[in-house]
Homo-oligomer: 129 residues x 2
Amino acid sequence: MKRQKQTITQTCSTVELEEALKVLEGRWKILILFHLFSAPVLRFSELRRAVSGISQKMLIQQLRDLEKDGVVHRKVYPEVPPKVEYMLTKDGVALRPALKALKFWAESRKIPASVKKKPALACKRGSVR
Amino acid sequence: MKRQKQTITQTCSTVELEEALKVLEGRWKILILFHLFSAPVLRFSELRRAVSGISQKMLIQQLRDLEKDGVVHRKVYPEVPPKVEYMLTKDGVALRPALKALKFWAESRKIPASVKKKPALACKRGSVR
DNA sequence: CAGCATCCGAAACGATACTG
DNA sequence: CAGTATCGTTTCGGATGCTG
């Protein structure tokens, strides 16, 4: 997630945008954020289950990135066994409108013109409310 | 941008979201879209100049991806020298709210608590109106 | 002008094993 | 439970050269 080598020729505009976009970059980042929107806090293991398909390594890595970028807060409970909770920071919460719009778009393009009558029951959708 | 190998264990929800997110994935995709929002159509060379720092190869590649995913339309004029114009499809235009929200977030987090009085003049910002 | 082909280094990513 | 460390693979992305 570090891209600070070439690409020096940047115009004034869009640079800040690029910076921000880098925060969300990565296969799992946005997905993780979505789940963090669906609950006030989530433990590591809960996230692991929520973001199905992610490897443990990736989950940690992306969480650390998000933490470093001030989007997610990590709270460690000094217990045995360990307990770590993740939650959105203020900056992270500020992403809600964007993620909501993204989710809306995602859902809208899943219906390929033929409008279904029942939206496929038995499918807990949610996140970002 | 093809990720269809493992990760079979997907829950019903969030799959469609993942699909949609894949469309936007890639270092330049969103940036390209931003520029396509700022003008009705853009020629290849115009995009190349607009998205500063991108290599020709990447621009083509990402444009093809976006085209394949039905977000961008490619119009070829059978002339010599060649002329190709790119524009958003209906599906692409539908991304406007999401990108707007994203841009808003990007800008909001650039001001680190200390509110400036003049927003740095001589800096043409724009895209997504 | 718009683009394709190829080569190559750098990352992102995944699986596995080990730890306090 | 929540990590760290390591290794191997896959993908990404840039540079260069060529084409209609």
